[in-house]
């Protein structure tokens, strides 16, 4: 398995992949024109001046044992909300108390904000269901941290990730039914699709502009504010393990949490180190490591067992080949997880 920077000829494979996604992955709609734009943007970002506003990098996961079949995708934006407003609800608290009456009420409120404007964003993560095993998800998701560690000047300090909120098997979101539907007069899936294809101006036009007291929402809606979809729990746990935290920002449609971490505080960024590779003649052993080749345009990340010896990281000839490296090349690597057994 190998994560690598996206290429122009990935388009067909991506369309195939996109068609297997469900509602909820708003950033990977099965829209050829839009996918093509994303590929071009990623290629352009490689050539651009290294500034967050130019960064829009897409990576794919290929199965090296199946002729490089593309089975996953992920992306990073250097800074969101710089051309169109970036919306979140922030869950706040409003206290109503009268000493005279001896009454005290603490109410949750939803404030429509653009607070996360200018954050870097982890996005578009999707892995084909048949490949959801053997740490493929972790490899795909965390490979991005090695890229960010390598090219920090291309990303804003605050890094966010939007987690899919709660919806049922039919795609019905309790939060949407209680709030969004009253203002948008459309189905959740439609709103989700419009956002996915970048038609966001309707949000400002139709959203409630005043804070909303959650007490006026259904119990079902209140219960899912800041909670993730069952399928997203592993992804959430993984990012929490990397240091991401929920600070009260939720999606305006399904109230899924947006989690945050400072770039330098992400474990895989902070703990990543440079090593010189050395060819291992026998199968490598030890912890699982994410290993990147440190290149911008031809960026690649592999997952392999290894243990560094004196600043050198032994890698099998296959892994070296996958990374496009010779023995003696410099790589950036980090253990896949902050295992407590380190």
């Amino acid at each position: 398995m190998l994560v690598r920077a996206i290429r122009r000829d990935d388009l067909d494979a991506l369309l195939l992949l996109a068609r297997s996604t469900g509602v909820g992955v708003t950033t990977l709609p099965a829209n050829e024109e839009r996918l093509l734009r994303r590929i071009e943007a990623s290629l352009a970002a490689q050539a651009a001046e290294p500034k967050p506003e130019h960064s829009s990098f897409v990576f794919v996961l290929e199965d090296t044992r199946q002729q490089g079949r593309v089975v996953g995708i992920c992306a990073i934006e250097g800074a969101v909300g710089l051309t169109e407003p970036w919306y979140n609800y922030r869950v706040g608290v409003s206290v109503h108390a009268s000493r005279e009456l001896g009454v005290y009420r603490k109410l949750d409120t939803l404030f429509l904000t653009n607070d996360l404007t200018g954050s870097a964003e982890l996005c578009s993560l999707f892995l084909h269901p048949d490949w959801r095993h053997s740490n493929n998800g972790s490899l795909l998701s965390k490979s991005r941290f090695l890229f960010m560690a390598e090219f920090p000047e291309r990303f804003e300090r605050r890094v966010i990730a939007e987690m899919r909120g709660v919806s049922d098997a039919t795609g019905m979101s309790p939060f949407w039914e209680a709030l969004g539907r009253h203002f948008f007069k459309m189905e959740f899936s439609e709103a989700d699709y419009l956002t996915g294809i970048g038609q966001k101006s309707f949000i400002a036009e139709l959203m409630p502009q005043h804070p909303v007291y959650t007490a006026f929402l259904s119990e079902a809606a209140r219960a899912v504010i800041g909670r993730v979809h069952d399928n997203t729990r592993p992804a959430l746990a993984m990012l929490e393990g990397e240091g991401f935290r929920y600070n009260g920002y939720v999606d305006i449609f399904d109230a899924g949490p947006t989690i945050e971490c400072e770039l330098g505080d992400i474990r895989a960024v902070r703990d990543s180190r440079l090593f010189t590779t050395v060819t291992a003649n026998s199968p490598t052993e030890g912890r699982l490591w994410l290993v990147s080749n440190r290149r911008l345009a031809d960026f690649r990340v592999a997952l392999t067992h290894s243990e560094p010896i004196d600043g050198q990281l032994p890698l099998s000839p296959t892994v070296l080949a996958n990374l496009g490296c010779e023995s003696g090349a410099s790589v950036r690597a980090v253990p896949l997880s902050a295992a407590t057994a380190i």
Binding site: S94, A97, V103, R105, L179, H182, S201, E205
Partner: protein, 335 residues
Amino acid sequence: MFVFRPSRLSDLPAIEKLAQESPVGVTSLPPDRDTLFRKIQASLDSLAADVSFHGEESYFFVLEQVERSELVGVAGIVASAGFNEPFYSYRNETLIHASPGLAIHNRIHALSLCHDLTGNTLLASFFIRKPYAFTRQSDLLSRSRFLFMANWPERFADTVVSEMLGATRLDGSSPFWDSVGRVFFGIDYQTAEHYCGVNGRKFISEMMPQHPIYVPLLSDEAQEAMGQVNPDSAVSFDVLIREGFEAENYIDIFDGGPTLHAATRAIRTIAQSRLATVRRGHGGGLPYLIANRSVEEFRCLVVEAEPLGDAVNLSAAALDALGVSDGATVRIAPL
């Protein structure tokens, strides 16, 4: 004959009896002797005062069946609503949420806590005994206040408001309160009304929402209760709507009943009223509200009359009841 006049301290026992008959919830007419005494005294003081701009005056009138010396109703005017504390209402705002791109054009209603109506003149404490509801007498009791206001505009604000009781369930609970007020207060409607009566409305600023409430998020029952008039306020509502009051913009923050408002000079009785010189003569003709021009001895009645130019003929009995003599100036308006 029924005569509308200012209340006197000697009316106290009769007014107390009326207050006991009046429905619970008319918080401005509690069956409490001390409170009623203060109301009458405040009214006497206000009538005696030399007023050049409306302030904290309040006026309290009665409707008397003269032959039986029997009081059948009361009605009050507060010169400036919320003189000592803000007068809160929900403003029912219409927000337009339109997306030309998606061809969506939504009108969303939202309730904003406001004190827009602070300082306006407030019609309050209206109660008439059952048999006289929806008769000439209920019109006389309510509308005589407007002739009083037309006589002494400097004593009143440019806008007049009046709160109607909102819808309640059979058990006296309020569907609007349960969906809205309870969220912020955590107590039931009767308790809140009680606090309000005892502690004044000061605590509202501490407890009520700073942000508008989106109406589509309220329960259906609460949405229906918005702007609904309680049967106990039906007489008041009927008269005031005919007088041109508007009911759309403001509702009570407790029970969601409408707060009516009208520009003072546009109130029908005031707009149509004019001064006339009385001549002793035969009555007869169309019914008119006729009031004298005295402050402390204000009187108003319904009389059939046929005003001709600036003059109006009244029977001796009517002149007596008004306390005016031949040649005096009165204010008249068609009933």
